[in-house]
């Protein structure tokens, strides 16, 4: 049988949509608003046990022995598990399996899991943890990339290249030649700090291994399919023996995009005890699990001609990876690969090195791998604009990549609404009247970005679709969608319902979406890389069109006309040429079911493989079927004396191709902008000060190496209502032929420009550059002081020469 692959290039679609682009309630919203929706921790099963995990207090230590006998003997303890019972190494990227469910040989960060207990309640489980005796041989903690690169001690003994987790070096064109030719070279060193996703719902898993050898696990995951695979591997079960269900999820942002210790622990302890086992992280454990933004240390060199065209970009980056690989292979590629639009580079070179350190593992946070380099490059562009005397928006226009083109690293870009985004924010912010003209302390800054709508690089290579859906129609006049994708709050269930409703003549409320249950739904790879709207959108469109065709044909038979004469809309089937002639949609479904039997079909999608990226090692990583574009203007008020930065307003224009559900797109823009602003100014997933304090004056006590400084939502400050600026979200629609109805992503792109735009606005306000994030009041004050000292020197020098 020849497999028919659908690499859908959408046909032009009529503009008069009935459901698409309208404002609908979010599918399932009212359940969440009434407390009816059951999140993972809201579930309980009869005789359910509670698991707690013992964690290493050492940043780097060999595990010599674990004695669990006292814990096992405690009344109320039903099971204990240690790393040697689940020795298989796994990793969300199959090429870098360096994690164990529980560390068996070595603990690699403060908080690394070493054992777990299932007990009748959390209190008993906690008491039992205290009875577990772990003998450690404490090793030197390597808590920075510099320390890890310099040390002969390896964090992962089997790693071939010391403590280097991944190294990528790619060059497109002759960078050094172009740098020589350049009229202007801008060089800068940039530091991007680590940040946590801080979804309000802590991770939770509930597992039950039943007497038919079926392991059911309810987990707050955003990747049920990857969890399914890794559970099978580590627990040595067949995938058919495992069912992963993702209940309603309380936010993720990348924090829940790979398997975690708690899922393995709950599953293993359920297998050992025969009882259901729940494991709920404390907030502190969420900070240990982390997978947040990698700290990047970046050296950028860019060459421009006198007109501001980018001749060369040379980027050197060190990524602080933390203890394990996570998505690090991809992060390392993304740190360069996602940089090559919306501006055209003549030549481009990047060298990125991800280093293991004894810290919580970094991974994919919203805007995975490209938020950090975007900060560097957009500030570089601002510096270039100033050096050349050009308006920063004009500089960006001059370097516009264009539509239907290829980037220097070979990515094929379709629609590109970046110029429209620039136009919109320029106008909305009254940029021309105000930029560079506001009083001291007030400033405007601009930045742009791009992001992917899913990636061509599937986490594991296969010929299988990346997204799958099944739709059934019901003689009651409803549709059911079974979809493997994860609605993590972003509204993917709604997007599917909108597409199905548009095609089947239904209202969004008529669609039941069953998603993210590996027993009930076809495989989708998960909620990451902003892939669902495009990929599941296509799959859903394929299935819905297919079913819609059958319904129209059945009605056409009934009316003895051609199927083209039948349209499905507004819960009716009606004659195109005679609006008075219609039947309720339910009757239409009944007619179709009578002819075709039970109505159901599947849809699927895989990324186009040919001609969408270059041909070199790593070329597909970061290549996407379609790219979103974003531009922001930020207005700040800076108090140069205290260093306080108040973000007054952010204008964010985002080209999402087509807004299938505009209110959700706005929500994604606003949420991204808020999150980015907080990263720029407030949040820092940092360690306790150890060794010399920042003043360099004295030693802190010993034992603080590798200990997280902020492990609560009090100490890790995510913004409140009163800290969040006014956000104007502006939707730009440049439909992309590779997106369903032209749709592209909206959930991650709009985070990128906020951070550099804030930095650029601060420069416009008070004339100082803060190239090391986060931009704290302290850094502003120091920069202002340094400038004043510089000026004083200048004045002294000037007066000296006058004499």
């Amino acid at each position: 049988m020849v497999k028919k692959k659908q690499n859908r290039e959408s046909e032009p679609v009529a503009e008069d949509f009935r459901v698409i682009g309208k404002n609908h309630g979010k599918v399932g919203a009212m359940d969440r608003l009434t407390g009816v929706a059951k999140y993972t921790d809201d579930l309980s099963l009869p005789r359910m046990l509670h698991a707690k995990i013992l964690r290493s207090p050492h940043a780097h230590a060999r595990i010599l022995n674990i004695d669990t006998s006292a814990a096992e003997a405690l009344d109320g303890v039903f099971g204990v598990v240690v790393g040697s019972e689940m020795p298989t190494r796994y990793g969300v990227i199959p090429w870098t399996p360096d994690e164990q469910a529980l560390a068996a040989d070595k603990a690699r960060y403060v908080g690394d899991a070493v054992a777990a207990v299932a007990a009748r309640d959390e209190e008993t489980a906690n008491a039992a943890l205290k009875l577990i005796d772990v003998e450690y041989e404490v090793l030197e903690p390597l808590c920075s990339p510099q320390a890890a690169l310099a040390s002969p001690l390896k964090i992962h003994e089997n790693n071939k290249k010391g403590n280097i987790s991944k190294h990528v070096k790619l060059e497109f064109g002759e960078v050094d030649n172009n740098l020589k030719k350049a009229d202007l070279i801008i060089e800068g060193h940039y530091e991007f700090h680590g940040t946590n996703h801080a979804a309000i719902e802590p991770h939770c898993a509930l597992a039950y291994y039943d007497n038919k050898d079926l392991l059911t696990i309810w987990s707050s995951t955003q990747v049920p399919h990857y969890l399914h695979r890794e559970l099978a591997k580590v627990l040595v079960l067949e995938t058919r023996q495992i069912r992963v269900i993702q209940p309603p999820l309380g936010g993720a942002f990348g924090a829940k995009s790979e398997p975690f210790d708690l899922e393995f622990v709950a599953a293993k302890l359920s297998m050992k005890t025969g009882l259901p086992v729940k494991c709920l992280y404390t907030r502190e454990e969420v900070f240990f699990a982390h997978r947040g933004r990698h700290p990047f240390s970046m050296d950028y060199r860019m060459g421009f001609d006198q007109n501001g065209h980018i001749l060369a970009v040379d980027a050197q980056t060190i990524l602080d990876g933390g203890a394990y690989s996570s998505f690090g292979l991809v992060t390392t590629y993304y740190s360069g690969q996602l940089l090559c639009s919306p501006y055209t580079f003549d030549t481009f070179r990047f060298e990125s090195t991800r280093v293991y350190t004894n810290k919580p593992t970094c991974g994919p946070k919203r805007g995975h791998g490209s938020v950090q380099p975007r900060f560097a490059i957009e500030v570089q562009l601002d510096k270039a604009a100033h050096a050349l005397g050009l308006d920063p928006i004009e500089l960006r226009r001059r370097n516009f990549l264009g539509e239907n083109t290829r980037t220097v690293n070979g990515f094929v870009v379709g629609s590109n609404g970046f110029p429209e985004c620039l136009d919109k924010i320029e106008e909305a912010s009254r940029w021309r009247e105000r930029y560079d003209k506001l009083p001291y302390g007030r400033g405007l800054g601009v930045a742009g970005s791009t992001y992917i709508s899913g990636t061509n690089y599937c986490v594991y290579p296969s010929d299988l679709p990346q997204a799958g859906v099944q739709i059934c129609l019901d003689r009651s006049g409803r549709a059911r969608i079974f979809a493997g994708c994860s609605d993590i709050g972003q509204g993917s269930d709604t997007v599917l319902a909108v597409i199905a409703a548009e095609n089947l003549g239904l209202e969004v409320n008529d669609i039941r979406v069953v998603s993210a249950d590996t027993d009930l739904t076809p495989v989708d790879l998960g909620a990451y890389s902003s892939r669902i709207t495009l990929m599941m959108g296509h799959a859903c469109l394929m299935a819905a069109e297919n079913l819609g065709k059958k319904v129209r044909e059945a009605v056409a038979q009934h009316w003895e006309c051609s199927a083209k004469q039948v349209i499905l809309a507004g819960r009716r089937a009606q004659r195109l040429d005679d609006p008075e002639m219609f039947i309720p949609i339910q009757e239409a479904f009944v007619l179709a079911e009578a002819i075709y039997g039970t109505l159901g079909t599947v849809g699927y999608y895989d990324t186009p493989k040919e001609g969408v990226h270059g041909e070199y090692r790593g070329a597909p990583i970061g290549a996407s079927p379609a790219y979103s574009f974003t531009a922001h203007v930020v207005e700040v008020d800076v108090d140069a004396e205290t260093g306080d930065v108040e973000v007054i307003q952010i204008w964010a224009a985002h080209d999402c191709g087509r807004a299938l559900a505009p209110i959700l797109v706005e929500g994604q823009i606003e949420g991204s902008v808020y999150m980015g602003a907080a990263e720029a100014l407030m949040e820092n997933h940092e360690l306790m000060p150890s060794g010399l304090n920042p003043g360099g004056r004295r030693k802190h006590g010993p034992g603080l190496e590798g200990v997280l400084a902020h492990t609560s939502l009090l100490d890790y400050p995510i913004p409140t209502t009163l800290d969040t600026p006014d956000i104007a979200s502006i939707i730009v629609e440049k439909p992309d032929p590779r997106g369903p109805y032209g749709a592209k992503e909206a959930g991650e792109g709009p985070l990128h420009p906020v951070i550099p735009a804030i930095a650029n606005a601060i420069y416009d306000a008070i004339g100082v550059r803060i190239d090391e994030l986060p931009i704290t009041p302290e850094k502003i004050v120091a920069a202002v002081q340094a400038r004043e000292e510089e000026n004083m020197k200048g004045v002294r020098h000037a007066s000296a020469s006058a004499l």
């Binding site: 964690r55 207090p57 050492h58 403060v110 908080g111 959390e122 209190e123 906690n126 709920l280 404390t282 907030r283 502190e284 004396e641 205290t642 260093g643 407030m682 306790m688 000060p689 304090n693 920042p694 003043g695 004295r698 030693k699 802190h700 006590g701 010993p702 034992g703 603080l704 200990v707 997280l708 400084a709 902020h710 492990t711 609560s712 009090l714 100490d715 400050p717 913004p719 409140t720 209502t721 009163l722 800290d723 704290t776 009041p777 302290e778 004050v781």
Partner: protein, 327 residues
């Protein structure tokens, strides 16, 4: 979820019963009022409590009234009540303002003045889970024997982090304390010791029952300034109350004044401005006072943000406070 360790909760309905309970229960007896400070600390295990004596049902602690030239505020009056009371806003607006800056709306609904007066000291090394503390061996205030803020130090320097205390001291408020021996009244500043482990200068069988806040005279102006990373929820990182009394009939000339600084160590720092008596209240004075405060106050590495910055910030806040009082 982080769970509380089992304890016995007793809910007396009168001060008499409270005193009786405090004298009969020996170790690890804790007074709980709103619980917004105590419960998180109990959950973190940074303090222990076998018996909690709740003041929630002691109605006699919930009075707020004006008596002669004083506001008398019961220890059990909620922070929300103080912040929104027309009486407080009308007579001692700076107190309503400072209390309105405490934490979040929910915490102000739950928390009480007594609780804010007796708020535990805070430090980045103590306000951590048992696990985190165990990873570095604890500190003077919990499970350990060393100070990470002042290596070699033998006295805990965790910071007084109450938003109401600096203002109450600037106002010259007193607190009434009741114990087995009866009631006594002390100035608010005498409630605090130099030891962050036991920074409340009460014996374990005593309770703060009310604050007596003098209603400022016409020539007294007071303001409170707080700096924290966020505009809600956070404890102060810099906290200062400034009081200026001008000479009667000469609103531009200083009679007396004081600056009360929080978030240094366990005690608030009080700087009296009597040496500036007779000088004009102007920009120059703002700078002068800021300089004095800066010289005499030493923020420590007990809360986030560098000591140097907090010192600088403190001076700026003092300067701006004085400006706001004479402009």
């Amino acid at each position: 979820m982080l769970r509380l360790q089992p304890f016995e909760l007793v809910q007396p309905e009168s001060i008499g019963e409270v005193l009786q309970l405090l004298s009969t229960h020996a170790e690890h007896v804790r007074i709980i009022s709103g619980g917004t400070d105590l419960v998180p600390n109990l959950k973190l295990g940074s303090i222990k409590g076998d018996v909690l004596v709740s003041l929630q049902r002691v109605d006699e602690l919930k009075n707020l009234k004006e008596a002669d030239t004083q506001l008398v505020i019961g220890a059990g009056v909620s922070l929300h009540t103080i912040a929104t009371s027309k009486l407080v806003q009308g007579t001692v607006p700076v107190l309503a303002d400072a209390v309105g800056k405490i934490a979040s709306p929910q915490i102000r609904n739950m928390g009480t003045l007594g609780g804010n007066l007796c708020l535990d000291t805070r430090c980045r090394y103590i306000n951590q889970s048992e696990f985190i503390r165990s990873s570095f061996g604890g500190c003077l205030k919990s499970d350990g024997d060393r100070c990470h803020v002042v290596p070699g130090g033998s006295l805990c320097v965790a910071a007084l982090s109450s938003d109401s205390v600096p203002v109450l001291i600037a106002l010259g408020a007193d607190v009434d304390i009741i114990g087995p021996e009866g009631e006594r009244t002390i100035p608010v500043e005498e409630l605090y010791t130099k030891d962050g482990v036991a920074h409340i200068a009460l014996s374990s069988d005593e309770v703060v029952v009310r604050a007596r806040v003098p209603i400022p005279a016409a020539q007294t102006r007071i303001t409170y300034r707080k700096w924290a990373v966020r505009k809600s929820i956070d404890f102060p990182l810099v906290s200062v109350a400034v009081r200026i009394d001008h000479i009667k009939g000469s609103p531009d000339i200083l009679e007396d004044g004081r600056v009360v600084v929080g978030v240094l160590g366990p005690q608030p720092k009080i700087l009296r401005l009597s040496s500036l008596q007779g000088q004009p209240i102007n920009e120059e004075m703002a700078h002068k006072v800021a300089g004095i405060v800066s010289r005499r106050c030493t923020p420590l590495a007990n809360v986030p943000y560098s000591e140097d910055y907090r010192k600088l910030r403190l001076a700026v806040e003092v300067k701006r406070a004085i400006r706001s009082l004479f402009i």
